[in-house]
Symmetry: C2
Subunit: 228 residues, 2 copies
DNA sequence: TTGCTCAGAATATGATCAAAAATGGGACTG
DNA sequence: CAGTCCCATTTTTGATCATATTCTGAGCAA
């Protein structure tokens, strides 16, 4: 799931040219999205400076961006931590994801060329093996990638951006769910989505997406820490 | 060792409670939201350091946050500027605002106490005078405040956050429209919204909000620069 | 318990380095 | 001979870091 850091091959272009604050942002973002940082966990600037072997300024900028993303919360005093999801938050996320991601799926169904559907299906097969083998990090990364690539084909950058932000909010909790129940409990609707994409049936895709979102979010709700 | 506590009176200033990067963020955000920065205008760090008489780090962090908000865009090379809205963007914004803000209005209609509806109505009266007198900055600020306070009463922080972000995207363009057509061309639906809030009629509020959003966004669409 | 002190972390500044845009001179072409 | 294009120089701006300053919260003493 990581970007292959091979700056030796392509000297002119590649990940090595990204500024440090961008690299720190991407890494931290991935860590949050895939649950390497637990909900409620404190995040300190100097801790990240040491952990990521970076300077202080890039870390600060990355943290600001992630706070704005809703992926981190600023706790009044100067403390920053990974947010903990509440039951009411899940209701909002369900509504927002249903409307935004269904619309994105609808748009993608009319714009996605056949070859890209093939690629998405191949991705979904890899996802299935990750589920079968209980590979939690792989499952989280591939599931996210499935939805992200679908959204990217909707040709709607603002909506895709909204969807991306929503994922950042429940990413840490999703990981908790997987840790508690395993990957077996995630019967997704990706096959239905793919079928709809092949038929270019927007309604079918939207319906399948709605079910996929609902199933995923109900799992998240079930995995919320009851009170403490 | 410091001088013992005398925090009662501060001799030099009174508003030093917020950290500098927060102050810079609020100011820049307001400038973008209310169109003091034109779409397409370049934003430089050092320019802001001089203009706001601040250090480099606070400006830098504020810019990162605003990029994450979608209020500024990072233009590949290290340049940052105020984004220019395109016709397709308006379509997305219409969809997103309609779904998100209508839901927020729906929720607010069942939760907003009578006294707060009164306050909102008073705000709307001030807004009317701003429209009548052609006070563009006042109109923009009060209109934003009307919607923000309504959203705040929905008890849905995630959705309210999404809505706030959407406003940042079309704020600069809204100012352009006002500069071109004046405030007279904005017949809002606030009266209908208020009526629905009084009756606690969620459907009525949602319908009025949908019309208000549509009217506003169509104005924005009409004011897009048709060049290139 | 209350108040003081102190260690440590966050905030903010300015300097330094690097990169990109702007500028200007020179050569080439019409 | 004039205009234009290209490339090197200059200058502006962004990125990063080391360091000083401020603030928070915990520990200790009365």
């Amino acid at each position: 799931m990581n970007v292959p850091n091979s700056p030796s091959v392509s000297p002119t272009e590649g990940a090595a040219k990204l500024p440090a604050h961008e690299q720190v942002y991407q890494r931290l973002r991935a860590q949050i999205l895939f649950g390497e940082l637990a909900p409620g966990q404190a995040v300190t600037i100097q801790g990240l400076v040491e952990a990521l072997d970076s300077g202080m300024t890039p870390v600060r900028e990355a943290i600001r961006r992630l706070i704005s993303d809703g992926a981190l919360v600023f706790q009044g005093n100067r403390r920053v931590s990974v947010p903990e999801l509440r039951a009411e938050d899940v209701d909002e996320l369900i509504f927002a994801r249903k409307t935004v991601e269904c619309e994105l799926a609808r748009r993608a169904s009319t714009r996605m060329p056949e070859t890209d559907v093939d690629a998405l299906e191949a991705l979904d097969l890899t996802l299935d093996t990750a589920i079968a083998t209980g590979d939690v990090p792989g499952y989280l990364a591939l599931n996210y990638q499935f939805h992200t690539e679908l959204n990217a084909h909707a040709d709607a950058p603002i909506l895709a951006d909204l969807a991306d932000r929503l994922w950042l909010r429940f990413g840490p909790s999703l990981r908790v769910v997987c840790g508690r129940f395993g990957t077996q409990s995630f019967p997704d609707r990706h096959k239905d989505i793919l079928e709809g994409l092949r038929k270019k049936d927007a309604d079918l895709v939207a319906l399948a997406m709605e079910r996929d979102v609902l199933q995923g979010m109900e799992q998240v709700r079930a995995g919320l820490t009851p009170i403490n």
